[in-house]
Symmetry: C2
């Protein structure tokens, strides 16, 4: 099942995507819901960020090749993470499928994509086990962890390097029927494929993170966990269009503009 | 004016605190509101966390003496921050005035308080100036940035060191009439005052942070910014009661228990 959140006459509304149509529901996938009798053309609706998370978690460095690339870029020693330590991103930066990534005037040209799998939590949970962890996940969507590399290197935190407004595209929707081992993540810039990698080849997987995190903290419906990206990343410039596809989920597409 | 959020028959409700009474309102201080004709005894209501922030910002190292102490504790070189780089904390960890700080079973005895001023954003804003920045602040409350120092030192992020469930007491309420230069922060453990410092003697002040942050990001009503703490901090153990008082705002009091 595929859950989208869209603008229905000014009201954020959840709907079930079936082919090229969307069926609005009363309620939400995080609670009770029922289908309405309406069917809309998907092409006619404005998709919104599929969920505004109570807490926005990010695995960070979580793929071997990307760890090497990232460490070299910011001048640190290459070292694979030893445990599943999640970091945070910020809701102000979220934009939906189709919306513009806006590069601030004073950013360098080192503004880069990172294509990521996103786990969306479906229920309140603590003390998950390896056996039941995935039952706490409503489904998966796609994130683009846009990053300004000079700020990432220079600042004490990631506040502007990764959380400038519009730097966190997420969508287009949440897919509930996912076999993690079958997924492939592909990043395209202006239609040209720059990387394709097996999505689940992570240093620490979704289950690892959920079990580790919920030893100490409660996850809430709508919390998201971005799982990191693989490989080298390249600069995006004004006029580019960045697409992150994860097979079986969909394609998150965002144009890039530079603030004038 | 003093805004509290409390449990009214199971519904989180805002109210205006006047002396030892609270007057529930319809609406909220972040939107339209009007007083009801009810007056309740403050002592009879269960206070809630005064706001659940869309994004939870924290200044981190922001007082000279604390920077020195913290750097030594986690084995880093003492260096004052050169710019106002905010970090993040997580909503799962929030608890209200009066609720228990729960130390996990496997935490060491290095679980410490940090008494902090908290700015609560009142309206959506971007590109604030030094002149208008404080007009975006609804008021101020108090935070206790509870920290497990061994995890803080060992982990790649602050996810459990500072964001274990119950590690972020915030309250008791939001005070809108505050003169920052007059404030004094006092921390008491079991009634004994351990430190008192001028709240506004920060490396970067509230205005510095708001101006800097909103160059790149939008702040939303209810966002909070914790301003950091001063000086050395001490361990809290099962049975302790930790109080953070900021003169003119109030006192945030939380008992400490260790998970059994």
């Amino acid at each position: 099942m595929r859950w989208a959140r869209f603008d229905q006459n000014g009201t954020p509304t959840y709907g079930v995507v079936e082919g090229d149509e969307i069926i609005p529901v009363r309620g939400s996938p995080f609670d009770m819901w029922e289908r309405t009798s309406t069917r809309l053309k998907l092409a006619d609706v404005k998709l919104l960020v599929p969920v505004i998370p109570p807490t926005f978690y990010a695995a960070g460095l979580n793929y071997a090749e990307h760890v090497r690339e990232a460490a070299e870029k910011i001048g640190l020693k290459v070292e694979l993470p030893k445990q599943a330590d999640a970091g945070y991103r910020a809701n102000n930066a979220l934009i939906a499928h189709g919306e513009n990534i806006v590069i601030p005037k004073d950013a360098t040209d080192q503004v880069q994509y990172e294509g990521e799998l996103v786990a969306v939590i479906g229920r309140r949970c603590r003390h998950l086990t390896r056996e039941n962890a995935l039952s706490a996940v409503l489904g998966f969507t796609i994130g683009n962890d846009v990053s300004e590399r000079t700020w990432q290197k220079a600042d004490r935190t990631l506040w502007r390097a990764k959380n400038t407004d519009t730097f966190k595209p997420m969508g287009p929707w949440i897919e509930t029927d996912v076999k993690l081992d079958d997924l492939v993540t592909k990043v395209r810039l202006n239609g040209k494929e720059l990387i394709a990698f097996p999505t689940n080849h992570m240093v620490f997987g979704v289950v690892d993170f959920l079990v580790s995190m919920t030893r100490y903290l409660t996850l809430y419906p709508g919390d998201v966990l971005w799982m990191g990206t693989e490989g080298a990343t390249e600069n995006m410039k004004h006029g580019d269009v960045c697409e992150i596809e994860i097979t079986g989920i969909g394609t998150l597409r965002n144009p890039v503009v530079r603030e004038s």
